[in-house]
Symmetry: C2
Subunit: 135 residues, 2 copies
Amino acid sequence: MIDPNSDRAAFQQLADILRDAITSGALAPGAPVSSEERLRQEYMVSRTTVREAIKKLKSEGLVVVEAPRGTFVRRQPPVETVTLRKGDNVTARMPNPSERREHDLPEGIPLLVVNRASGEAETYAADRTRVTPGP
Amino acid sequence: MIDPNSDRAAFQQLADILRDAITSGALAPGAPVSSEERLRQEYMVSRTTVREAIKKLKSEGLVVVEAPRGTFVRRQPPVETVTLRKGDNVTARMPNPSERREHDLPEGIPLLVVNRASGEAETYAADRTRVTPGP
DNA sequence: TCCCATTTGTGCGTATGTATC
DNA sequence: GGATACATACGCACAAATGGG
């Protein structure tokens, strides 16, 4: 499963395996990912390697870690729509810690920034928001 | 500088210190961040702790690591504008590895996904793109 | 060209704390 | 209370790439 002699790092290979399982649906939203210890045994790597892989998936927004319950495939929350008016624009970036608290954002979820023509900026959790042009 | 007895983890405290330096402008875009070894000595923590802090800032899009040259404060690339038409919508998420390669995205930079009314989806590097409603 | 110091990447082990079950 | 599981933090080692002399 994992080739220590590959030029691709072991933790990357493990992340790839788990990512495939998630995106293919083999691991459904809400499903638990094997514990660090189980993954360590199954793939014959160190716990460090397992944790690096999990951290990668977390940064991609694919899993949430609920210590010490376990690691789970992210569920998709319902999406709300924000409407753009003329002169507005939208960008996205990663939130700072204060913004993460404010929006209750898990790691790996970007912030949608809506800059209104008035000069004010509104921020939204990207996993819960869709932006459309005004009617 | 770093309080080992604080309830805030050491690596978080270090990330906070470096983040402040960057957002305040004390560390300008393009400027090198001290090496892991220097930070380790300066703040009296392990290399693991330093690396956790750097990884945090990377996931926030604040720094780029150019091994083995060093770690640098991110420069802001020029921004291009994408126009939304009626029936389109925009979301954002973190890219998968293939998308990161395709757009040459550093870590910590989200992907802007423009879903056209036609059903096609376009993706853009969030740090180089601004989306506006059509005329 | 070659050597060397620097720096980051990766991986191992270990230990302690804390929250959940 | 005990077992499990994740968070944090320390140590060490080697590889690979860069840059200077």
